[in-house]
């Protein structure tokens, strides 16, 4: 795994909503193959940052580079075609489609070129991914019949089918999920990272999960990155403690 080159570079990124700066001059870089954790109190701008990287929001100022290529002016589906995938805290699945169909939507989307020519192979790949996240037995069920945790698994598997997959952003993947599914999510992140070299950014309040997964965490507060390092390191920084206890 190549950890020497930067996959994501964020320069002086700002996002304002009226008078509120949700992200305020944030700079950050993430190395290829890393699993980066992003933590911070509620309202610190974590989800806004994910929305900016994936194109859900346009930045007010600043720049975002993926592998050296500037991407902050691209539309969301173009960013997906460059290999940026995300999950949402409230899973945004296609509720009236089957579980398998949910994976086939991105598999044959505009971002995937002429993949439709390998139809059978891609359908098999989708089924393998469902097996990977332990949802294979529900492949023909409508997504709306799934539990909250299963919806999260489905959402995660939907991202894994994108090719190429370079940077996977997960927004609170463990929120409201039972321990067994939490374990499946953690294992799938580790496996995709180690075997396919996928870079992950995991936004979460679940410190045990962050500790197990992430070598480096960035702490956000009031739209800025206030600390970076291992979870143990940042936990002892006074500004981080102050941000969490609201000093």
């Amino acid at each position: 795994m190549n950890r020497t080159s930067t996959i994501l570079e964020i320069e002086n990124l700002t996002k304002s909503f009226g008078g509120l700066k949700a992200v305020d001059g944030l700079s950050m870089s993430v190395e290829k193959g890393e699993i980066r954790g992003i933590i911070g109190p509620n309202g610190s701008g974590k989800t806004t940052l994910v929305n900016l990287i994936t194109g859900i929001y346009d930045a007010t100022s600043g720049a975002i580079y993926l592998g050296g290529e500037r991407i902050d002016r691209l539309r969301p589906h173009v960013r997906t075609s460059k290999g940026i995938i995300r999950t949402f805290q409230i899973p945004k699945v296609f509720r009236n489609m089957t579980v398998l169909e949910n994976l086939l939507v991105p598999a044959f989307s505009d971002s995937q070129g002429d993949r439709y020519k390998r139809h059978k192979e891609v359908v098999q790949q989708a089924q393998d991914l469902l097996k990977f996240v332990q949802l294979e037995h529900m492949k023909n069920e409508l997504a709306k019949t799934l539990s909250g945790g299963q919806l999260m698994l489905l959402q995660i598997a939907r991202g894994f089918i994108i090719d190429p997959l370079r940077l996977y952003l997960m927004d609170e993947p463990f929120a409201g999920v039972n321990p067994q599914i939490k374990g499946v999510i953690m294992e799938s992140i580790k496996e995709m990272n180690q075997e396919k070299g996928v870079t992950f950014i995991v936004v979460s309040h679940e410190m045990p999960a962050i500790r197990r997964l992430c070598g480096t965490v960035s702490v956000m507060h009031e739209g800025r990155s206030i600390a970076e390092g291992s979870l143990e390191e940042v936990a002892n920084i006074p500004t981080v403690i102050e941000a969490y206890i609201g000093g």
């Binding site: 409230i90 169909e101 989307s109 971002s111």
Partner: protein, 297 residues
Amino acid sequence: MIDSFLLYQSLVAGIVIGIIYALMAIGITFIYSIMKMINWSMGEFYMMGSYLQYFLVVYILGAELWFLGIPLSMAVIFVVGMYIQRFLLKPMFVGEMERKDEYATVITIAMMVFFRNLAVVLAGPNQFCPPDYASPTYIGPLPVSGNRFVALIGTLAILGLFYLIVKKTWVGRALRGSAQNRVGIQTAGVNVLRVDQVAFGIGVSLAAAAGALLAPIFLVWPENGAVATMKGFEIIVIGGLGSIPGSLVAGLLLGIVESLGSVLISPSFKDVYGFILVLLLLVIRPTGLFGERQRVA
């Protein structure tokens, strides 16, 4: 005492007209479900479809080839719709993913005024009638107008094709995905602006098909789309906004209620029966028969 033969006949007439009404409503609800905007100029696409059909049958194809006029009218309006979406409606979604509903309302109402007046300028205020598509026929023992029978069969064929496209193709999957989760579909790599374009094209081509199929029955004139639009919106309220099965069922219901009301009470109040149905639905089930409560999340 009402003659049962007359009752059955009006029931069949109601079913026939109801399914054709539904075509228009499905066009409106299809565009709404994907773009989350109401196309107030839907009737004008119906009107353009009827004019195109008249022009093709009378001046180019001839009366025998009337059936070719319907797919041709649909294809022309599909392309026109795609371009209108691209140049007039796309700005609604450009920039951040915030919809500008008022923008779509102003643009589509302006299109309604423009196309109606364009029809007056190009073809005058007169009514035109293409040659009959077929002579009177029977459904079982019941006589039915040939034009209405053709419109019924044509509508069923178009709805069948529409179902196949939406359910069985990759484009259809992207269309359904956009309707179910507009943000999710973009992060799944689908160009939602292109999906919008295709959806608008398909939606208005359904209206054009209704206009072309009904041209010999309701005639061709600049404001012939107004009634069809009104029926379309009534159906949407009854069936539930955004529900395609709802539009189909509500279309049938409206057609039957209008038809039976005309026989059992008086044909003078035909349009009133539909409105009573709409009012009843709004009181009993405001979301419509198949409508779901909006989830905000």
